[in-house]
Symmetry: C2
Subunit: 144 residues, 2 copies
């Protein structure tokens, strides 16, 4: 039951919250020992802050819960491929595993450099990719 | 009088504050129209948060002051070359000009990818580089 789809659905719920606030709909959760320990969604518009990506907030939140700086035994689920800023943050956090839904060919970290993540971080991509990218497409259709 | 050295000295004062708190001594200021509108220093240990680099905090702080998400008419002074996370954040903020002191051959953004910054950001490096790197070297000598 607690598979990647299960946790990606939780991240999608966060993305939906962003969507409902007219934010670019990206959501993320951090999972440790099969349990969601932190959740966040993009708040760049509301906070007027380019650093308020879902991943950045969920890193801060998860490390607060764990009482340490590192996410060495955690999996981070995010609906869209992280940008270089977020990938750089995940490197500092020494994330164990990254799972993302939709790829971002234009702004995703892997287009710029696959070496932005920590060398020990394993990556799974494409989990519920259609649902994740449909939410993005609907958002950008609505604002055009 | 208000030249790059003048503002780098302000960033160095921030770095010294980090040093005094046993934080890796990096300081940053954002300048708009010859005026310092935000200052910050690294607080990753105190906040237990890998995202609490001087640059990340000073971006958030400066955009709060300006009431917008962008630093299109600003110069950011930082004592050490930004890492990829911070360079990625500066890209989102569309920073006009970056000035840094010491280069970071191991973890600096330019080693990983010079394309992490916004294409319109101009870069000046090496301003008070000796002072900036001496503070770092003293810090790392002390903790060994």
């Amino acid at each position: 039951m607690f598979d990647d789809e299960y946790f990606m659905k939780q991240a999608l719920q966060e993305a939906q919250k962003a969507f409902n606030k007219n934010e670019i709909p990206v959501g993320a959760v951090v999972v440790s020992e099969q349990r969601v320990i932190a959740r966040a969604h993009n708040l760049t518009e509301l906070l007027n802050d380019v650093t308020a990506h879902a991943e950045m907030q969920v890193i801060t939140s998860a490390t607060n819960v764990l009482g340490g700086k590192y996410l060495t035994d955690c999996t981070l689920y995010v609906t869209v491929e992280p940008c270089p800023m977020c990938a750089g943050a995940l490197r500092w956090a020494q994330l164990s595993r990254l799972v993302y839904g939709a790829s971002d060919e234009k702004r995703g970290y892997s287009t710029i450099s696959p070496f932005l993540l920590h060398p020990k971080t394993t990556v799974t991509k494409g989990v519920m990719a259609n649902e994740c990218s449909e939410l993005m497409q609907t958002f950008f259709k609505n604002i055009r």
